[in-house]
Amino acid sequence: VTASTQTFPDTLDSPSHAAAWWSGRVLPSATGHFNELTHSGLEHADLAPEWSSFFSHVTDGPAGLDLRQTQLQRQLRDNGVSYNVYADAQTLQRPWSLELFPLLLTPEDWTEIETGIQQRARLLNHILTDLYGNRQLSQRGLLPMTLAQGHPGFMHAMDGVQPLGQTWLHIAAFDLGRNPDGHWNVLAQRTQAPSGLGYLLENRIAISRQFPQAFENMRVQRLAASYQSLIQSLIHLSPKGRDARIALLTPGPYNETYFEHAYLARYLGLSLVEGHDLTVRDQHVYLKTLQGLEPVDVLIKRLDDDWLDPLELRADSTLGVPGLMQAVRAGHVLLANTPGSAPLESPALLDFLPDVALEVLGEPLRLHPTQAIHRAQNHGIGNANPHALSQLPTWRGQTLSPASLVLRVFALAQGSGQWRVLPGGMVRLPAPGQNLPSMQGGGSSADCWVLSHGPVDRTSLLQQAPTTLSLVRQKRPVTSRAAENLFWLGRYTERTDNALRLLRLTLRSLQGEESGSHSLLAWLSVCNKAQGLLPSTTPNAQQSTEAFQCALWQQASAQRHTGSLGHNLRSLQSAAHAVRERLSGEQRKLIERADALLNGLAAPTHHSHASVQPVDPDTLDQLNDLLAAITGHQTDHMLRDDGWRMLSIGRHIERAATLSAAMAAAVQTGSLFEDAGFEALLALFDSTLTFHAHYPQRRDLLALLDVLLTHPDNPRSLAWVLSTLRSRVDKLPDTPGQPVLSLLRDLPDPRTWDLLALSAVHPESSAAHHGYLDLLQLLQSCEDSVYRLSDRLGHAYFSHADSLSQSLLS
């Protein structure tokens, strides 16, 4: 019986009716699999009490579940939860796929898992101590050489090293499967750089929001306290103690789980760093920031061991930090996890663990399949497949359809040889047609609720007691890399904004009454080509307005053409992606929406594809609104630290350069001296209202220059842009050997500009520039000097030379 064969009553009198209704709709699991819904391996059984309780809160029936599923997908998309499938900058993200139903674990289930995982963590830590210490396990014939010093992942660079606090493992992940008899066993162990700690948090937030009553009433164990204790343990074990600076080391935006690196860093309040953000001096690790080198004491790494240090490990690694292993050996930095744990991930190791556990801990290994086989034989069900995974209901439009699951749980170090098991986990389900779940293969995930008999710990990272962390306001360092990306985010935002304004202005002008003005068309041609909206080979608008307009339509959506609207927006997005942990969710959402809008523009329509499609002015209007919102966010919703200053500097550099060039072109083409061109320039400067408020009835150069060139309060006047630029740069930190003032040395000073002289015609001039030599010269120097400023900033703060490292071998 499926849910669809019987309609759900419009209203249900009580939750127990809801539970009863749902219990009639349970599909049996595949033969031989444990069914999570009935908590049993039998084909026909009743809904388990915890599921009964869960469904008693689902009083709105299948339609309600459909609605929740839709909400859930939108929420994940809006939050930008993603999993990068391939290391490709173009099509990099797949939306995270999350099931509606959580896995429900009873307190008894959890006790079995928790005890077993704590034992595992102790055992694995012991194995590493032995492997890099006195090697008793291989000496006593408990581990073969191929899983000890002979394992390809054995790290000779760590031989003989004792990690801080004797703790090798700070975060260990275990993939569990439930046997047909209802017991769990470990299928895989992940210790080098396990993923999931961020995704499972996001899963929790999303699912608890869909089932708020069930979540509240079912005593679901909370997660925050475990994350907090992990951080406290790291601080405690770190060489600096309470003053420790912790960072999360990511391979970068192209890693498949980059989303969660950024998410975790943000949630835990850590700096997100890439290998080239760090440098090692005298065996200490430092973060390269705008303010100089700042010490780093703890690194939570999301890099596999081999890539950590190109000096001693893989020489071709560009993700690591040269000299890092020296700092680790010296005990100056705590790496979580300590490098060298790769042998623990070997599937072959699992078979040897029972013996090792008996020898080392004096107790039988828990959560191990041999136990399951043993139990199965005792209960006379020896023919059951011990590898069949338990099945969780998934909501597939009207039916509860069962899917096999693997549960990833995490042991987090507490120091002093103890591990805490995060009460929850990441459930993974295989993609249709696959036997084993894998996110890479397109499977989905689910939340995991650990139910408790007692009260739940409601610790929140937001409410932690005053410690040094919260009392002393820590200035978040701005890494050189973040500074560079923010700078480019600023430049591309402004560039996109300018390009869009020019595009709309051009399209309006071509269709309007002024389309006959030769000089206006000439000016538009120059500006569109200068800004890269059109290739320089496009015929000018004066030659053929139709061809010009066609080219504009074509280029508007082309993303590959450098300078096109699409390209600018794409660049904006990728700069934003690289500093996503610094941007509000709203700003990221707006950027995603702008990108989606532009993609819609690029999509071929159902009309004939032979002719070029006109660009929909409504779409451009919407895009304009979105950009206004994005720039608004940048102006009003970001902490005004040095990172924000870089963004703002980027925007003003771009604005100064674009406006100078556009004004110069207006003088040179003469468009400025006709009504249409005059108004168009005002529009491009976004100063139409300002001008007419100041100078009603006037239309002369002097008035125009006052508003667009020297006005101290018009945020689009060059004087305003340059003085803002000056004051932003002025607040940047000095760098060694380069006082910040020297960056500004040839930026024109608007206070020295003489309006009358600038608007005067030079007597010995040619017709080409209508005589305004001084004005043109000034505009040229504005454009040149801001580009020079851009180069100098790059040199002083972004350290390109440092990022280009190479390995030598002789």
Partner: protein, 317 residues
């Protein structure tokens, strides 16, 4: 044959197109003590002077020196000068059938493993492969003594493969060597080690030097030698060396004219000088190695190193 005192000069020079801003290096340039040799003295000169320098013993018992340069420099010179006393080699002893060793190398629960069993495991530059096992099998008929089989394998490699200078680089894989039937000393060493490991048998890589004799009637040229590489295998608590390049072997060392620098699973563990630099652009590298007997050494200026000239009389590297 008698004991010798040898002077070793190993000079490495990097010249950079643009100055290097920051550099970190790791050197395996100080010889180890072995039963066949005692190190009398060792000095490492680095120019420019490093901002930081540290010595440690690595996982394989080798001397390893780390150093860092933190100010811009257009070139780097590293000069290692070591004085080593070497002993005459001893002929290879009789040994048990190789299968006996193989048998003991198999994992048995609760039994201590055979000593040095880890060297039977594959390493990045000397991996196991069925094609290597196929080639090696010819030297390992049933019941042949372990060291005699190694001697035979060394001999076959020496005859089957051509020594061609410049035919390979540090990235050449063993399988390429096997297919191309040519290489230099490092390739032959990796090939022989890979062959042994492919049969489940242990072997180590030796990085070192070989004293070469100048052509008759000519004076020794400083810097004319090169780094050398060969193979060593364990048997009854001792190591026995095989040099497939020059077809020489012996207990502890192939001869008193050999000096061991460092030992490891393969070249990757013992590369003489590794580094990561920031900046620098293109670079040129020159390495000059001299092995000089004590009685000739006085006539040389230790630092007046000339680039390699001509072909050495005996093949090295």
């Amino acid at each position: 044959l008698s004991a010798m005192r040898l002077h070793l000069h190993h000079h490495t020079e990097y010249r950079y197109q643009t100055p290097v801003v920051m550099a970190q290096h790791m050197a395996h340039l100080q010889p180890v003590d072995r039963p066949s040799q005692q190190v009398v003295s060792h000095a490492l000169h680095i120019d420019p002077l490093p901002a930081w320098q540290q010595h440690r013993i690595d996982s394989f018992g080798n001397h390893c020196t780390h150093f860092a340069l933190q100010s811009p420099h257009p070139c780097l010179n590293v000069h290692a000068h070591s004085v080593v006393d070497t002993q005459p080699t001893m002929p290879l002893p009789d040994s048990e059938p190789w299968e006996h060793l193989w048998q003991r190398l198999q994992f048995q629960r609760h039994m201590a493993p055979e000593t040095h069993a880890e060297y039977a495991c594959a390493s990045p530059l000397a991996p196991s492969h069925p094609r290597l096992a196929d080639y090696a099998a010819g030297s390992f008929p049933e019941g042949r003594p372990w060291l005699a089989a190694c001697q035979d394998l060394m001999t076959r490699i020496h005859h089957d493969f051509r020594y061609v200078t410049g035919s390979s680089d540090i990235h050449t894989s063993v399988l390429q060597t096997l297919q191309q039937r040519q290489g230099v000393c490092q390739d032959f060493a990796h090939l022989m080690i890979g062959c042994l490991r492919s049969l489940g048998l242990p072997a180590r890589y030796v990085s070192g030097y070989l004293l070469t004799q100048p052509p008759p009637g000519q004076a020794r040229l400083l810097g004319a030698d090169a780094s050398h590489a060969w193979v060593t295998v364990p048997h009854q608590g001792q190591w026995h060396d095989f040099d497939p390049t020059n077809l020489r072997s012996g207990t502890h060392s192939p001869g008193e004219d050999y000096v061991t620098l460092a030992l490891g699973r393969d070249f990757g563990d013992v590369s003489p000088l590794r580094g990561v630099i920031q900046g620098g652009g293109q670079h040129s590298l020159s390495v000059a190695v001299s092995v000089v007997p004590e009685d000739e050494h006085l006539v040389f200026q230790p630092f007046a190193v000339t680039p390699p000239l001509g072909t050495p009389g005996s093949m090295a590297s």
